[in-house]
Amino acid sequence: MPDGTICAIATPPGRGGIGVIRVSGEAAGDCLTGLAGRLPEPRTASLRTFRDADGEPLDQGLVLWFPGPDSFTGEDVAEFHGHGGPVVMDRLLRRLIELGASLAEPGEFSQRAFLNGRMDLTRAEAIADLIAAGSEAAASAAMRSLEGAFAHRIQDLVEQLTELRVHLESSIDFIDEPLDGLAIDRLADRIEAVGEAVRAAREAARSGQQLQEGARVVIAGAPNAGKSSLMNALLGRDAAIVTELAGTTRDVLDAHLHLDGLPVQVMDTAGLRTGADVVEAEGIRRAHQAMAEADHILLVVDDRNPDEDDGLGAAWPASAAALTRVYNKIDLTHRPPGVGDDGVAVSALTGAGLDGLKSHLRGVLGVRAGDEAVFTARRRHLQALDEAAAAIDEAVSAARAGHGEELVAESLRCAQDSLGQITGAVTTEDLLGRIFSTFCIGK
């Protein structure tokens, strides 16, 4: 009954800790040998180097081999204990997918164990809970991974593909209609263009600009507290404009940062105050929204008057994320830098206390950013983009080689199914609806 070979992160990769990836199914042995050399003795750990397809090392760690049926799932199972952070774990997963595994659905390991009779009846409820809760977590993780510009980009790709399919499918099903159909070679050009867009989206996602945005850290506080200065200090470059005027920052500015391999998205926001002009008020609204979606907030306080109204007031979001007070400008107040009971003392100007702030952040974010569900969701999205790109290539070469339209159409359908895994499927009904509203069809 179970279907293919699955892989998943069994324990999330913590900072500096060990992450475990588990593989189950008939290709588990191939996965092991492909990634880490020959099969070890069953049920004993051995130290190996994990390598990519070209033999380049990815990581080092322990492997374990549990041949079925005497394994947790009743199938062949391989386990990899790696040391790398999330980025390395992601590479390992990618390699396993190349080797024939696919990402496990929530609860799927336990489900297989149950279906293979490795778990007794009394556990069925628990497995059901696991699947239900897991799929909810996966859904919200997929949403998180899909917010903002990336979502628009994918939506746009789906739209372009749909349009091509509308033309192609209607030229197949409604032959007697004088459609302003695209000639097949022009079609190939257009498909190629979409393929390039898919690849660009994938590259952007892969290089971490959009998908690997990591945990969201929002810098907030009163005007002139030094938020933008802190942002620049954390990034090590002048990303945000800094002036001595209160109300300099008027929009949300975000940038990516790696804290010891941990991807973090930092956002600088407008200073919070009342009585601002229209533009600044909009900036403040956006700041509140960013805070509402944050994983962590750094509340910057000018250390010269730490008890001044911090501007948060009643607008403080109910579902507030964890918050750290950052006392800034200690070069002026001579407070010692570092982590204290009520916050972290820094100087954005001199850099004092910044290391302390970074390690504090890593500590509070470690678990969140390594969250398995979000991590897996991203991997799924990347994989869907890979598949879509491959299907589109196939469509282009079929069109160029003069194969029939139905073969081009078949590849485009596959491409759209792949993207559909990210955005939700485009059904035949959707497609037909578009055809009938675009063309006057019917006798």
């Binding site: 009954m1 069925a124 059901a128 239900a132 799929s135 194969h403 139905e406 359908r413």
Partner: protein, 628 residues
């Protein structure tokens, strides 16, 4: 007919669904009765005189592979045959024919008359005999109570039918036929969901009043293709041409001026019409920027004086119909012989059916054709065939035939209908089939004749001939794979002549055939290629296998993956509220749809993969408990 007799199967309705159902049941040896309002309208084409087309031709070939009526009838009645999508690949090529209405009716009638175990009787069915929740027979207009193990209802557009022409409307089942009112009321009282749909037809025109000189002629293909694998090749009557003309801004102006008198726009009609078969008034409103729409003038028959203007279906008032028609090129002097009209009718929600087309709520009752929310002769005929087979299987306690989506368009059709239902008259398109590359006209027999054999629909001689054909394909495939051609065998010249360019390295014949620019005939001309297959059908099959190979393999893998849970049955009495972990929303959907299998459940919009996993765990748990 014998009024005391107990029938195995009673089929109600002598349209396209009914005739296939009755014929299939009788071929299986079941004692079958076909009951219909009028024996003179058996096989009547209610609307356009044509069979086949893209998607539809595929269905006709499937009916034919199962030994059905439609392909044979159209081969004897077709007066213009064409293969559509010739320039595209084999999966989407489809046969279409114009029919002589009278010849078609006669052909259907003759095929039924020859069929043993089948009786025809003319009467109207007013009621169903329902005993302890099971359908046991029918009661006719003249009060006969006829009993049967299974009843197949195929009453088309007749249930509560209402015909509209402008602001005039009246009851009717189709122009010239009475509607089924008593039966419609009876069905509405049963636990079945009923709703309204609508469709329409254009006015007919006297051919003598048409000026063909300025119009584009569209002849048929020559030689004319055949639909049926059982036809010998001498059945076609003489062939005629169609003609093409167009509406124009004047036509559109007439239509716009009369819109307020159209029952569609005045709100008189509530039923939903098909988007892909809009009335001319719909086209003019929805595509206001177009200043012309194409019209095919199709002869209704060899001896008929009537012409069917395909493309101007309408329910506008009759005076507008005249003005509109006469504004069209070639039709200035047109005489209308019958008005166009729209018809509204009841259909039963197909989600209340098992994919075998048996009612979920009334065992013993099978429904097929337009009554299930479809439109088209081919869609109706295909369902009729399936329902006829399964009505017999029901009586014999055999497993029903439920073709999968990758096996037949018929599988796509019943799966779509019974899983998703429909909100407009459902027509087949090839884009509905995700396994389109393997559901071809050319391989309908390879896909379905083994099934026909299992259900006793074809005789031994036909089966043997089929097996010989299938073996010949297998042999030829093996030969092409095993025959290796080396550059040295050919010499550059000969290779270049046959293959377009010299052969560079050794290759199997199959590998050569995969190249789109090389045909089977090119290979056959190679000196080193060995003996080619004689049967052109075998040549065609191996060529397609070569061209589609990679794609077909991938689709087969997808099918394999799906099939792991596809056929896993969901008990009819499954209490979804007790399946641990299912969200309320999914519970409601499943309770509402009552999918027959896990595969069907997965295709219901809104049912997530996680929900399917939960069902799987639930089923397994039940089984383990039973075996414990």
């Amino acid at each position: 007919m014998d009024s005391q007799s107990q029938y195995d199967v009673i089929v109600v309705g002598g349209g396209h669904a009914g005739t296939e159902a009755a014929h299939a049941a009788a071929r299986m040896g079941a004692h079958t009765l076909l009951l219909t309002q009028s024996l003179d309208t058996i096989g009547q084409m209610s609307c356009n005189p044509a069979i086949g087309g893209i998607g539809k031709g595929h269905l006709v070939r499937e009916i034919d592979a199962m030994g059905g009526v439609m392909g044979r009838a159209i081969d004897r009645a077709g007066i213009q045959f064409r293969v559509l999508n010739q320039r595209k690949g084999p999966a989407v090529r489809a046969t279409r024919a114009q029919a002589d209405r009278n010849l078609y009716r006669q052909a259907v009638r003759a095929i039924l008359d020859e069929q043993p175990h089948l009786s025809l009787f003319q009467d109207t069915v007013d009621d169903l005999i329902v005993e302890r929740g099971t359908v046991r027979g029918v009661v006719t207009g003249m009060g006969l109570a006829l009993r049967a193990t299974a009843v197949v209802l195929t009453v088309g557009t007749f249930l509560g039918g209402r015909i509209h022409i402008g602001d005039h409307n009246r009851r009717g089942g189709r122009a010239g036929d009475a509607p089924s009112i008593a039966l419609a009321e009876r069905l509405r009282a049963l636990p079945l969901r009923v709703d309204r749909l609508k469709t329409g037809t254009p006015p007919r025109i006297d051919t003598a009043s048409i000026d063909y000189r300025a119009l584009t002629e569209q002849p048929g293909d020559s030689p004319a293709p055949y639909f049926s694998r059982w036809s010998r090749g001498d059945e076609h009557p003489r062939s005629v041409s169609c003609h093409i003309t167009h509406t124009n801004p004047v036509t559109h102006e007439h239509i716009r001026k009369a819109l307020h008198r159209s029952p569609m726009y005045s709100g008189e009609i509530e039923g939903v019409g098909p988007r892909y078969c809009p009335s001319i008034e719909d086209k003019v409103v929805r595509f206001a920027d177009r200043d012309g729409h194409q019209i095919f003038l199709e002869p209704e028959g060899l001896d008929s004086r009537e012409v069917y203007p395909n493309g101007i279906s309408t329910s506008l008032p009759f005076d507008t119909q005249i003005a509109m028609v006469r504004s069209i090129d070639g039709l200035a002097g047109a005489r209308i012989t019958r008005p166009g009209y729209a018809i509204e009718y009841d259909y039963l929600d197909p989600r209340d059916l098992h994919p075998s087309l048996q009612s979920l709520h009334l065992p013993g009752l099978f429904l097929a054709g337009q009554i299930n929310g479809t439109t088209g002769y081919e869609e109706a005929g295909a369902q009729g065939l399936l329902a006829g087979i399964n009505a017999v299987a029901h009586g014999r306690e055999m497993a029903p035939w439920v073709p999968a989506r990758h096996e037949a368009y018929l599988g796509v059709l019943v799966d779509d209908l019974t899983t998703r239902g429909t909100s407009e008259p459902y027509r087949m398109f090839t884009s509905r089939a995700e396994y389109r590359l393997q559901l071809r006209e050319d391989n309908a027999d390879l896909r379905l004749m083994p099934v026909a054999r299992d259900y006793g629909l074809i005789d031994e001689g036909d089966w043997q001939a089929f097996c010989a054909y299938r073996d010949a394909i297998d042999r030829e495939r093996r030969r092409l794979e095993q025959t290796i051609i080396r550059p040295a065998d050919l010499g550059d010249d000969h290779g270049a002549t046959c293959l377009g360019k010299p052969l560079r390295r050794e290759q199997s014949l199959m590998a050569l055939l995969r190249r789109p620019e090389i045909s089977y005939d090119d290979l056959a001309a190679l000196s080193a290629a060995g003996e080619a297959a004689a049967d052109p059908r075998v040549r065609e099959q191996v060529t397609i296998a070569a061209r589609y190979e990679g794609y077909l393999q991938r689709q087969a893998a997808q099918v394999e993956k799906q099939s792991r849970y596809e056929d896993r049955a969901l008990p009819a009495d499954l209490d979804y509220a007790r399946v641990a972990g299912l969200s309320r929303e999914v519970q409601e959907k499943l309770t509402h749809h009552r999918p027959a299998t896990l595969g069907q459940a997965a295709r219901i919009p809104g049912v997530t993969p996680a929900a399917v996993s939960l069902l799987l765990v639930h089923l397994q748990r039940g089984e383990q408990r039973q075996s414990a």
